[in-house]
């Protein structure tokens, strides 16, 4: 009823090709942004912001990064966790060497280090494909994890072997460290995620995105029509790792506040890959859906038994939660292999023609 595009005429090519061509979509986006920017910080509890929203946004950013590589370019990677680690450790090293520089500059700059490392480990992608590549990226994962553990230079020869986030202020307001307020951190994360999502959206709708998708659909054919495979694949690795790196830096600086190397182990890589696949390969919106489902759903599941007044041990809840999530993953895949993003599209299409079936 409300979601109908009748009467919306496009008078230029640009308007027709816009990312959100329908007015209602733009309004919807506005409402989402309004909720994120105004409602949540003012009315959200500390739990909602610190334990749900901040990590959710960070994981969304990481899964956008992986989606650029796996969803758009078709290169399966299991090294995301390590690339996030590179970002976090780069940011830590930078801010301890140059404490005077704005921390947000360093968070963004750490992405470049991650990108460089990503390119190096992306090189085999020219010869190796599919699952073979996925396992090859595990080499990056395990090698980098080893560096974070065994090479004391990375953690400044700290006796605890972990990295701790120092307090850094921006215009006199602490942004990182324990004294910073969670609202400040939320705004920083939100700002970075919005800007980087907007950039990613422009990227995938432009020439580079099309090149990536051509390579994904068939790299030999793409090469024949004049796309340089080396540059395109490496660019995908670089940009994807950039996103992962920034997400990793945010993870430690805006959320954990201190991190052991094991934070960036292979499980994190799998975790992000789940989000991308469940959310929908090749969809930015899907990355957000995926992060929500994989990260927030388990938290919600934990609170059902106490809410219903069922006296269950916390460990049993955890076991059942594992079973439910496992089953849900399979059910979602059976229902819609193309992910939540595809479901969202189908839903919108149904609304558009409602009350008619098609």
């Amino acid at each position: 009823m409300l979601y109908r595009e009748a009467g919306q005429f496009k008078s230029s090519y640009t308007a027709d090709m816009a990312v959100f061509p329908i007015l209602q979509d733009r309004i919807g986006l506005g409402i989402v942004l309004f909720i994120a920017v105004v409602i949540i910080p003012y009315f959200g509890s500390s739990f909602l912001i610190q334990a749900i929203m901040i990590p959710f946004l960070i994981f969304s950013l990481a899964s956008i990064g992986l989606n650029l590589l796996t969803g758009y370019t078709g290169l399966l990677s299991l090294g995301t966790g390590a690339f996030m680690g590179v970002g976090a450790y780069a940011c830590y090293k930078l801010t301890t060497y140059f404490p005077g520089v704005n921390i947000i500059v360093w968070i963004l700059a750490s992405g470049f280090f991650s990108a460089a490392v990503g390119v190096v480990f992306g090189l085999p992608s020219l010869r190796i494909k599919g699952f073979y590549l996925a396992v090859a990226t595990l080499a990056a994962q395990f090698f980098l994890s080893w560096c974070f553990i065994r090479q004391p230079w990375f953690y400044n020869y700290n006796t605890s072997g972990a990295i701790e986030v120092p307090t850094r202020a921006l215009f006199g307001i602490p942004v990182t460290g324990a004294t910073s307020s969670f609202t400040t951190r939320y705004f920083v994360v939100l700002g970075i995620v919005i800007v980087m999502t907007w950039l990613a959206s422009n990227l995938v709708h432009g020439r580079i995105g099309r090149m990536w998708m051509a390579v994904r659909d068939m790299d030999l054919a793409a090469e024949l029509i004049g796309i340089r495979l080396l540059q395109t694949k490496l660019l995908a690795f670089a940009i994807s790792s950039f996103y992962s790196g920034v997400a990793g830096a945010l993870l430690v600086f805006m959320w954990y506040g201190s991190a052991e190397p094991s934070v960036f182990d292979v499980n994190l890589s799998f975790f992000i890959l789940f989000m991308v696949i469940i959310g929908g390969l090749g969809s930015l919106t899907g990355s957000f859906f995926g992060a929500a489902l994989i990260f927030i759903l388990p938290i919600v599941l934990r609170y059902i038994p106490p809410k219903l007044g069922i006296p269950i041990q916390s460990a049993t809840v955890d076991h059942i939660q594992y079973m439910v999530i496992g089953a849900l993953i399979v059910i979602f895949l059976i229902a819609e292999p193309a992910g939540l993003a595809r479901l969202w599209q189908i839903g919108k299409q149904k609304l558009r023609v409602w009350p008619f079936p098609y």
Partner: protein
């Protein structure tokens, strides 16, 4: 110069100076390698017949071992527990085929891969719910597996061969040989190979895909059970065992996803390579390199043979 000496001369000097340790390292690497290839074998069986990269193989190892030990703890005699566990692995295979594979038939590989993650989560929760998360002791002696070691005097030192390791090697060899015979000589084996070549062609000549899938998942379950018993006997049965399954991945890419001999050869190369590497070159780089050395070995091989050592040649057409 010093570093060159340490990298290229010193390790060989050490090998010469203590040949007993060298032989021991080789043996330990060989045993680890055989056990890696057992896990890899589970992956290969399923990948060959259904194109599914079964991430759940690791948790199947834990689940099988846990069921076996858990049943025994509840008072079931060891061999009966073994039989029941085999039965449960069969039910699991049927369940996976009916509830997961059949609805997902013809989906892209990555989706099936993801579905096995779902299976992993489910089995983790289910296993812990039924048997609890605390580690258990593998009932190796009750199953008639030997204990103790055979020590050889060798070149001024000794080489110690654990009986359980010898048993593991023998059992692994028997399993591989019987699987190879099963694939080559029986009717079902031929059907399996046909399915591996092409699902559609196999269907059109009247081979039941469902039946084949149940068989391979069951076979992978048996392999998982054997792996679980062996690794469990080496340490304990707990959910930490799942991590070991990751070691099978470099073995897979080295040997090729579709080759049974590849899984064996790959396992041995990786096992021996990483133990020798860790023992002789590890100190140079700061130890603990075996976590990634296997992947680097595999990666180097891959750069020359992108389909793995024994994998089928990848032919790309437009």
């Amino acid at each position: 110069m010093d570093i060159l000496y340490k990298a290229f001369i010193d390790p060989f000097m050490q090998m010469g100076a203590a040949p007993d340790l060298f032989v021991q390292t080789l043996w330990d690497g060989l045993v680890a390698g055989v056990l890696y290839s057992l896990i890899a074998l589970g992956f290969v069986l399923i990948f060959k017949a259904s194109g599914v990269f079964n991430f759940a193989q690791g948790i199947m190892v834990v689940f099988a071992a846990l069921t076996l030990v858990g049943l025994h703890e509840k008072g079931v005699p060891a061999y009966l527990a073994l039989a029941i566990t085999i039965g449960i692995m069969f039910l699991l295979a049927v369940g996976v085929e009916k509830l997961m594979l059949r609805p997902l038939v013809n989906q892209p590989d990555i989706i099936l891969f993801m579905a096995t993650f779902g299976l992993t989560y489910f089995l983790i929760g289910f296993g812990e719910l039924i048997f609890g998360g605390d580690p258990k002791v593998m009932i190796a002696t009750q199953l008639g597996l030997p204990r103790g070691a055979i020590d050889f005097k060798f070149a001024g030192g000794f080489v110690s061969l654990q009986k359980i390791d010898i048993a593991a090697t023998i059992i692994a060899s028997i399993m591989v040989a019987s699987l190879a015979i099963f694939f080559q000589k029986t009717r079902i084996g031929r059907a399996l190979r046909a399915v591996a070549d092409s699902h559609k062609a196999a269907l059109s000549v009247g081979i039941s895909l469902e039946q084949i899938w149940v068989i391979v998942w069951f076979a992978a379950g048996l392999v998982a059970l054997a792996t679980g018993i062996m690794w469990g006997a080496r340490s304990e049965v707990s959910f930490a065992l799942e991590i070991i399954a990751l070691k099978a991945l470099p073995v897979l890419i080295l040997g090729g996803f579709t080759s049974i001999p590849g899984a064996i050869a790959g396992g041995v190369i990786i096992g021996v390579g990483e133990k020798i590497g860790e023992f002789y070159w590890g100190p140079l780089l700061g130890s603990g390199i075996e976590t990634w050395l296997a992947y680097v070995i595999a990666l180097v091989f891959l750069l020359f043979r992108p389909q793995g050592l024994f994998g089928e040649k990848i032919i790309e057409r437009i």
